[in-house]
Every structure is written in structure tokens, then in C-alpha cells.
């Protein structure tokens, strides 16, 4: 029940295309859903996050779509750029922030082809 399931494992997208990564959770006690971006040799960095009282959050080219009834959420990267090539983790936590125990998904390795 603590798991966050993420797909796909890897994704190749052409420059300018839309990258979509999907996640699902089981524990309805989760109330904060962050996405992390990780470059090789670096720690995870918070990219964007959403709370379950909204269905969508957009920051620049990054959008989270959240479906509370289906217990699913997804990250959309519009106009994908080579600099977006990284591993992306969805996650979930309780307490409306990432400043608590974070349950990570398994990660998606995104490659943007020039």
C-alpha cells in the first residue's frame, strides 16, 4: 500500500515533443505528490508538486495532471529539450510537503533526441 508505481521505465522523445510519465498510488493517506528530476551524479531535485485538491498544476513547460478517483497522476513536459534528459521520479508523501518520508516511484529515464 506504500508503493508508487511508475511507467515507463525509459522514454525517448524527439526535441520539441511532449514527454509523458505516469504514476499510480494506493495509499489514500498520501496528500502530496512531488516529481523529482535527477541528473547523473546528482541528488534528486524537486521539479514540481501537486496536492490532491487540484487536478492540474503547471509551471512553465511542466504540468502535473492528477486524477484523485483513479489514484493516478502524470507529468507532461511540453516542448521537450535535450537539457530535459534526466531520470524523473514521481513520489508521494504525507503532510503536504516533501519534508517528510517520501515514497519514490521506480524512475523514468528520459532521453530527448535533438
Amino acid at each position: 500500500q506504500q508503493q508508487v508505481k511508475q511507467s515507463p521505465q525509459s522514454l525517448i522523445v524527439q526535441k520539441g515533443g511532449i514527454s509523458i510519465i505516469n504514476c499510480a498510488y494506493e495509499n489514500t493517506a498520501f496528500d502530496y505528490f512531488p516529481w523529482y528530476q535527477q541528473f547523473p551524479g546528482k541528488g534528486p531535485a524537486l521539479l514540481i508538486a501537486i496536492r490532491p485538491d487540484v487536478s492540474e498544476k503547471k509551471e512553465g513547460r511542466f504540468t502535473i495532471s492528477f486524477n484523485k478517483s483513479a489514484k493516478q497522476f502524470s507529468l507532461h513536459i511540453m516542448d521537450s529539450q535535450p537539457g530535459d534528459s534526466a531520470t524523473y521520479f514521481c513520489a508521494a508523501s504525507r503532510g503536504y510537503s516533501s519534508a517528510s518520508k517520501i515514497i519514490f516511484g521506480s524512475g523514468t529515464r528520459l532521453s530527448i533526441r535533438p
Binding site: K42, G43, P44, L46, G95, S97, I102, G105
Partner: protein
């Protein structure tokens, strides 16, 4: 920009040896965490620490593991007798507050532990 710093960046140790991984959290942060990431796998929570006590720990954090804040700046993870399966990237994180809205945990760059 303040950041969480970890040392060493890479540690190689023999099986059965003790290792100490070190972290300097962001200076005004009060909550500290350790996570680990086995190569190619997801990031897993190990332990959270506040006010010189463990707040929460995972099943991974067994008696071989301990954490300590030996002084006002460092936060350490000790593995008493390392096993091959302890080989992973270990991330330290810190936050101003635990579970308060709009607070964020910041991660260090990690220590790659290789047990041979």
C-alpha cells in the same frame, strides 16, 4: 544558494568493515533524512531525524545502521558491518520543518558506497 553537502563522494570498503557517511545539512534546517538508491533502482527512505532522535525509520534501517548529529553541523550515517548489498548511493536530505505545507526537503549530491 545553500545546499546539502556530503562527503566522501565515493567510498570503497571491505565487507564487514564499518563506514561513516557524512552530511552537512543546510544551516537553518532542523529535520534530517537519509535515503539510499541501489544502482538502477528507486530511491528508498531510510530514516528521519529531529531533535537528536529518530523520528521514523524504514525496514531497511536495521541494527546495523545508526545516525548521529555529533556536533551542530554534521549529520552522519554509520553502517556497522557492511554487506555487499549495502552498495548503493546514499543521499542525505534536510528540511526546515517536517510535514508542514510548502516546505521542501533538499537533497545532497550523494555518497556512492561500494562494498567489496
Amino acid at each position: 544558494e545553500p545546499e546539502v553537502t556530503q562527503t566522501p563522494s565515493h567510498q570503497v570498503t571491505q565487507m564487514g568493515q564499518e563506514v561513516i557517511l557524512r552530511c552537512v545539512p543546510i544551516s537553518n534546517h532542523l529535520y534530517f533524512y537519509w535515503y539510499r538508491q541501489i544502482l538502477g533502482q528507486k530511491v528508498e527512505f531510510l530514516v528521519s531525524f529531529y531533535n537528536n532522535e529518530i523520528s521514523e525509520k524504514s525496514e531497511i534501517f536495521d541494527d546495523q545502521f545508526s545516525v548521529e548529529r555529533p556536533d551542530g553541523s554534521n549529520f552522519t550515517l554509520k553502517i556497522r558491518s557492511t554487506k555487499l548489498e549495502d552498495s548503493a548511493m546514499y543521499f542525505c536530505a534536510s528540511s526546515e520543518a517536517d510535514g508542514k505545507p510548502n516546505t521542501e526537503a533538499f537533497f545532497g549530491q550523494g555518497t556512492r558506497l561500494t562494498v567489496v
